[in-house]
């Protein structure tokens, strides 16, 4: 049964708007005026002949001049004294850790150039998030502070130290308060340094402040079970997951780990056992998690509380006071259904909510206790330490500052002037503080108001440790000397508090020698060296205890409902506003990273911007079109944002991503989007991310998003296969419709592949669409960043893109005909499929046959090779590629001042992979199947005189994937992982009817929508 289901990438494709149709006619945004020349009098006039002669003369002259050129003198400067472990040309790998997960840092000649996951890391097991991959670029960011600053001018460290110490001594004598504000610190050594600092200055206090806060969950656990912790969730143990607005695959707490867990229960391995977890999501805006859900119900923020109460009622059989049905009948049905399924899977169920409201989280705790989740899917005894921010404490701190009680404040990895909801008040109050010190590596919004900036070193330049989950300690070790004149914040604190330990390195060593090393049975110098090779120690996990919930829920329900009524928008010109953390930019601390800015948002596919996401129906009602600017006003703050029509968005709501609108982020991040943090409020002791907002259409011109979703069109050909779990169980092969009399024919002789046939398998059921692979590919292959304007021109350079397809799922019926999709109501309930698309390395590659200069050819190992130095830029290949994966260099990105702010300046070019050429203007490029890695892997085994092992060579995309969706290997070897993966009944080849014989097999998406009642 082959699917005729309609897939579309955006509203414009669905409606076939004239611009869309026009743009899709052409391969490139700006067509070459060949026809005008041919049809007009171009050829008849005399100029072409003269021009031709001129060009000829110039060409001959240029070549003659080039021939006269003397040998250009290249200098070669060896080390004076070569470090023992460095061999030029060979990469070294060092263990380190980023945001608590163990990583490997690849360095070449002493420069870190790529981050790879540590295969033994408990979170990603070698997979990483896009943020981890991109973090290496920040090291070379030319916007970083190059010197310590005092009163806005550069200074030296010794002057700075004496100034700060003098001030602190004065404050200590006066007995006024000292405050150290940081985003969550879980490093044992850093916490030790802070404790020592406080011991030296007893009026000091440390406050954890997270811009995107999880205080709600921590407080709720304190409230419900007497444990103020962030639990450790086990999505892999859950057979049914119900989430209320928690984007646990994209941004919520430990999303990389959750992605891995989530996929492990849904992808190939689980499916082989005909098993797959079920995932029901209730949310307002379409999140990455929601787009992966089996059933997704859009609900307004004001109804979320009600929905959770309804679920509780359905599960417990009681009725909490004030509860009523949710307004949408479908949602109500879905809640009943979820309750039934949850009850059937007691002990294997998990309910999570993204809200930071204590009451909501208490109710979720009650639900999970009812379902017996504690001890199985939720672990309170090995809690996560990734977020420990205390909102109330921070607000109290702001009040202290306002009252003038604080004389010194230190900001460590915290930027409240940008991300605190009441930044205006805070900025005003900050003037009263005598000594303001920021450790920010940039002159960010907060740092620029401080009189002292002691720039912290990048983590790749630092010693340190982290403890992201109980019992798991990772080490941070430097892989390069500080690029700029920076110093670790801990070192500064040690100096300022006259700590007997002078060096932070010694401090870290002491921490490990005294306690942490013994966890793994290590000790002494040998133990330390072992740690520097393994990267972490892990204590055996404590048994997860069972917890029962026995608190009165009446008051809780009341709080939730009151809260809901506060954010309910009623009347004209009002909508419910929800702000969220986007998977790419996060809370805005990574806003100056061009790799992350250029990575399309997984769902909207917008780059370099945030926007007001709105349901199509709502926009229609209000007479708003895509790109129209609206002024959003809530909590006394207003911004102008362009509207994006987002299928799946709950009607009557607007979603806006935080992390944008930085004003002092650096050259890349400044002025990208608008700041949405001030829309949050402080309610019931925590920061809340929902509000009732007024909006007004402004008269401004329509905004054109740099949105990649429809850039590469298949002209409506079917490239996706999917099915339901029921269909899969019944007849696995039916999903992709195999064996229906497909003829294969060959115009060419079969290629001989004596040794290898490199192929890839991509499991669409494992792919969550997070985009980590895209950034990994960018880092590995020196893919340039082109910026917003060029993305608008459809000239993004990513070799690997993730296509996102919408399709309609109307009450379980698949919508197959054009006329059926005219009901815009359905846009609330769309299914989403992600498909990573890269060069398919076809055996009958259409690009190869049209290249007039043989710049793209086939190798005896099954690779479609692109030879840049042969390419003359006819672009015929791109025109002839059915997958649209070839990219043309419209500029000399690496040496063009227009692109300097992104990656192409004297600092950031240090991140380039020296094994891969940077491409020049006028040259076509595309995925090379990381041929440099293949060659290196083969050479390694030749040098070691042994056959190449399966799995030894890993593609950059494969390596970074937290869900192991990508498998690469040799098809000639029947026992290789990839051969096994491709034998799956779900395997299909995109556009295989073209008989181009692609080398990449996709495993069709399976949805667990057996009893879909939505």
């Amino acid at each position: 049964m082959e699917s005729n289901k309609k897939y579309w990438k955006g509203i414009e494709e669905l409606n076939r708007t004239p611009e869309f149709v026009e743009k899709n006619k052409h391969e490139f945004a700006e067509p070459i005026p060949i026809e005008e020349i041919l049809s007009g009098d171009g050829l008849k006039s005399k100029t072409p002949r003269r021009d031709f002669l001129k060009a000829l003369g110039f060409g001959v002259g240029a070549v003659s001049l080039a021939a006269c050129q003397k040998v250009p003198v290249h200098k070669s400067i060896p080390y004076l004294i070569k470090p023992e472990e460095v061999t030029p040309g060979i990469a070294n790998f060092y263990v380190s850790s980023y945001e608590g997960s163990a990583i490997l840092v690849k360095t070449r000649e002493g420069r870190p150039i790529k981050i790879e996951g540590n295969p033994n890391d408990v979170f990603g097991k070698g997979g990483t998030s896009a943020g981890v991959q991109a973090s290496v670029l920040d090291l070379y960011d030319s916007s970083r502070l190059k010197n310590p600053m005092q009163d806005g001018g550069d200074t030296g460290w010794s002057q700075l130290d004496s100034f700060v110490k003098g001030q602190l001594a004065g404050i200590k004598a006066s007995g006024k308060k000292i405050r150290l504000v940081s985003s969550t610190v879980n490093s044992p050594s850093t916490l030790g340094v802070i404790a020592d600092f406080i011991a030296q200055y007893p009026t000091a206090k440390h406050i954890d402040y997270d811009a995107v806060s999880y205080t709600g969950i921590i407080q709720a656990n304190q409230n419900s079970f007497g444990k103020a912790v962030l639990p450790h969730y086990n999505f892999d143990k859950a057979d049914i997951i119900v989430s209320f607005g928690a984007d646990f695959l994209g941004s919520w707490i430990s999303h990389t780990e959750f992605s891995r867990q989530y996929a492990s229960n849904r992808a190939a391995k689980a499916l082989e056992e005909k098993k797959m977890s079920r995932h029901i999501q209730f949310e307002s805006g379409m999140s990455l998690t929601g787009s992966n859900a089996d059933v997704r119900m859009p609900i307004k923020p004001s109804e979320e509380g009600l929905a959770i109460i309804s679920l509780y009622n359905a599960l417990s059989g009681t009725t909490l006071p004030g509860s009523k049905k949710v307004s949408d009948a479908n949602t109500d049905k879905a809640i009943t259904l979820a309750a039934k399924e949850l009850l059937a899977a007691k002990g294997r169920a998990l309910v999570v909510a993204g809200s930071n409201d204590v009451a909501t989280q208490v109710l979720v705790n009650a639900i999970n206790a009812l379902l017996g989740s504690y001890g199985t899917t939720i672990d309170l005894d090995n809690p996560s330490l990734q977020y420990a921010g205390n909102d109330a404490e921070f607000v109290e701190f702001v009040n202290e500052v306002k009252r003038g009680e604080v004389d010194a404040v230190f900001f460590l990895n915290a930027n409240p002037v940008y991300d605190f909801y009441n930044a205006k008040d805070f900025t005003e109050a900050l003037k009263k503080v005598k000594l303001k010190v920021s450790f920010a590596p940039y002159a960010d919004e907060t740092a620029s108001l401080c009189n002292v900036v002691a720039p912290n070193s990048h983590y790749l330049e630092s010693w340190g440790d982290e403890n992201a989950v109980t019992g798991y300690y990772t080490i941070v070790q430097p892989t390069i000397n500080p690029v700029y004149n920076t110093r670790q914040a801990e070192q500064s604190l040690l100096t300022w508090s006259d700590n007997p330990v002078k060096e932070y390195y010694t401090y870290v060593r002491n921490t490990w020698d005294k306690g942490l090393l013994s966890i793994a049975g290590l000790s002494g110098q040998h133990g330390w060296e072992t740690l520097l090779q393994t990267g972490f120690v892990k204590a055996p996990a404590k048994a997860a205890g069972l917890y029962s919930f026995n608190r009165d829920l009446n008051a809780v329900a009341q709080t939730i409902l009151t809260h809901s009524s506060q954010i309910a928008a009623s009347g004209d010109g009002k909508l419910e506003l929800q702000i969220f953390e986007s998977p790419n930019i996060g809370d805005g601390k990574k806003a100056n990273n061009p790799w992350l800015q250029e990575l399309p948002d997984p769902v909207s596919k917008v780059t370099w911007d945030n926007f007001a996401a709105m349901a199509v129906k709502t926009a229609e009602k209000l007479g708003i079109e895509e790109g129209d600017y609206i002024t959003i006003t809530a909590n006394g703050y207003s911004i102008d944002l362009p509207v994006l029509l987002q299928p799946g968005q709950a009607q009557g709501t607007i979603s806006v991503a935080v992390g944008y609108g930085r004003t002092n982020a650096g050259k890349v991040g400044d002025g990208v989007g608008q700041n949405a943090f001030p829309f949050s409020t402080f309610r019931n002791g925590t920061f809340q991310t929902t509000a009732a907002a007024e909006f007004k259409k402004t008269g401004a011109l329509k905004y054109v998003f740099a949105q990649t979703q429809t850039h590469h069109s298949y002209e409506g050909r079917s490239v996706i296969h999917e099915g339901t779990l029921a269909e899969y169980k019944k007849a696995p092969a039916s999903i992709v419709g195999k064996g229906e009399g497909k003829e294969t024919y060959d115009l060419w002789d079969e290629y001989e592949r004596p040794a290898y046939n490199w192929v890839m398998a991509i499991d669409l059921n494992a792919c969550t669409g997070c985009g980590s692979c895209v950034v990994a590919c960018t880092a590995e292959n020196n893919v340039p960043v082109v910026g917003r304007e060029e993305v608008r021109n459809r000239r993004e350079m990513h070799w690997l893109r993730i296509d996102r397809y919408y399709s309609f799922n109307d009450n379980g019926k698949t919508v197959t005909k054009e006329k059926e999709i005219n009901k815009l109501d359905d846009l609330d309930h769309v299914s989403v499929t992600y498909q990573p698309m890269l060069c398919q390395h076809c055996d009958h590659a259409p690009c190869e046959t049209v290249c007039p200069v043989l710049a793209t050819t086939h190798s005896s190992e099954g690779l479609n090779q692109m030879t840049y130095n042969r390419c003359v830029g006819t672009r015929y290949c791109a025109n002839n590629c059915p997958y649209k994966v070839r990219r043309f260099n419209w500029f000399n990105y690496w040496n063009d001042s227009r692109f300097e702010n992104y990656v192409q300046n004297e600092y950031t070019e240090l991140v380039l992979n020296p094994d891969v050429t940077t491409r020049f203007r006028g040259v076509m490029e595309k995925c090379s199947m990381c041929v440099q890695r293949i060659q290196a892997g083969k050479l390694k085994s030749k040098l070691e005189k042994r056959p190449l092992r399966d799995g030894e060579i890993k593609m950059a995309c494969q390596q970074s994937c937290p869900t192991n969706a990508i498998v690469f290997g040799n098809l000639n070897d029947p026992n290789s992982e990839v051969s096994k993966a491709l034998k799956s009944e779900r395997t299909y080849y995109v556009l295989e009817e073209l008989n181009v014989k692609p080398g990449i097999g996709y495993q069709a998406k399976i949805r667990n929508t057996t009893e879909l009642g939505a």
């Binding site: 060896p78 080390y79 030029p88 040309g89 040794a755 130095n869 090379s928 070691e944 005189k945």
Partner: protein, 422 residues
């Protein structure tokens, strides 16, 4: 000193292994294995010793052959400092003879290793004496005259021939004219002829210029000559064969690699491990030049670069400034080349591409480094697959290798674009 110990560390594994076998197989004074000794000798001794000539240390051939007390020798080699400290008379004599410059301590060499080295040195010394300097046949291929030279000679030849032809033709024309005149018997002309002689040669030139055939011929030759010159020049654009830049230090490969026979890898340590052969860092030079030729102004350039004061033997890193060598072999950025692939896997000698490096006082680019040159070699050279288990899973190729057939690099896909361009 530190660096010597580093090198030792690198070899220690091999050494230990050899030592293990030695301990099993040999008694304390058993005859050593000269082959194993050679490797050890090259790894540990060549920095300061040669077999036939005195370097930093004594010429080992005569020294070791004349010393019969192997036990003492072993002690000396393993830990000479201990012998000196114990005031051993023989040890003190050598120590004083060499200005009290202490030899490195090789405690990591086992008795078996030392026996191997001694065996090798004695063998080699014996060989050298039986075959006294039979003309150091370098074995290096005579430098080919490059195609560009050929073309230039050819061009000159063409021009010379053309001139001769012109001259001959000129003569012929002249004679013919004379004959014609004679036949017509025009006396006036003859009178005039006498005057012509006075009018000088311009007239002849004018006459020649009027000869259309001749002019055409000259122009044709000129065009051909210019054309071929332009073609050759353009064809060789950016081919820098023979490029021989002045280097900041007058380092002679002839002396180090040729006369002293120092192994290439001693300095170019990356050549068998990495993509880059790598120019040695100065600490490698200092292994010897701390004591050798300390007075030379060229060696002082090394000291200056390192901030090293030979008088106090102290380093001052604040004065250090790197040496900027001029790169001779420049491959374009879009071509990937890996030394270890060719040296270690392919078993190709350095000289194959770098030419008779051991005779070069100043290094020049021996090979053209063009893609044609690469491809040609890939097409002609057999794969060095013997004993390399890597090739076992390439069934067809492995079978042919086993049969002893030649399988070229090109047949292995070695001429495909993405083998070098990515």
């Amino acid at each position: 000193m530190r660096n010597i110990s580093l090198i030792l560390k690198q070899f220690s594994r091999t050494v230990l292994l050899v030592a293990g076998f030695a301990a099993m197989g040999f008694t304390a004074h058993a005859q050593g294995d000269a082959a194993k000794g050679e490797a050890l000798f090259k790894a540990n001794c060549t920095a300061c010793h040669k077999i036939d000539v005195r370097m930093t240390g004594p010429a080992l051939g005569p020294a070791i052959s004349s010393e019969t007390d192997d036990k003492w020798l072993t002690h000396w080699i393993q830990n000479n400092q201990a012998l000196i400290a114990a005031k051993d008379p023989k040890a003190l004599k050598i120590y004083n003879e060499y200005n009290q410059a202490g030899m490195n301590v090789f405690t990591n060499l086992s008795d078996g290793d030392v026996a191997n080295i001694i065996a090798y040195v004695r063998d080699d010394w014996k060989k050298m004496q039986t075959a006294p300097a039979a003309g150091g046949a370098t074995g290096a291929a005579a430098a080919e005259s490059g195609p560009s030279d050929m073309l230039i000679f050819g061009l000159i030849g063409v021009i010379v021939i053309a001139l001769i032809v012109i001259l001959v033709l000129n003569r012929v024309v002249g004679t013919l004219e004379k004959l014609l005149l004679k036949k017509q018997n025009l006396p006036e002309e003859e009178v005039e002829e006498e005057e012509v002689v006075k009018v000088d040669r311009l007239a002849t030139l004018k006459k020649i210029a009027k000869n259309k055939k001749l002019v055409f011929f000259i122009i044709l030759c000129g065009t051909i000559a210019m054309g071929s010159w332009a073609w050759v020049t353009m064809w060789n654009t950016n081919v820098h064969q023979g490029y021989q830049p002045e280097q900041p230090i007058k380092y002679s490969h002839e002396l180090h690699a040729g006369v002293m026979k120092i192994n290439c890898q001693y300095c170019h340590s990356g050549a068998y491990k990495s993509k880059n052969a790598s120019i040695p860092s100065l600490n490698v030079c200092m292994n010897c030049h701390k004591v050798v030729k300390t007075e030379s102004p060229e060696i002082h350039k090394i000291y200056d670069a390192l901030g090293y004061d030979p008088a106090t033997q102290k380093y001052d890193s604040t004065k250090a400034k790197p040496i900027q060598w001029v790169r001779i072999h420049n491959l374009p950025d879009f071509a990937y080349f890996n030394h270890s692939q060719h040296t270690k896997v392919g078993g190709i000698e350095c000289q194959r591409c770098h030419g008779p490096i051991q005779t070069m006082k100043q290094v020049y680019q021996y090979s053209p480094l063009t893609m044609k040159w690469c491809i040609q070699c890939h097409k002609r050279t057999g794969v060095n697959g013997k004993g390399n288990a890597y090739y076992e899973n390439m069934v067809s190729i492995h079978d042919r290798i086993k049969k002893g057939e030649k399988v070229t690099e090109a047949e292995m896909g070695g001429t495909e674009c993405a083998k070098c361009h990515y």
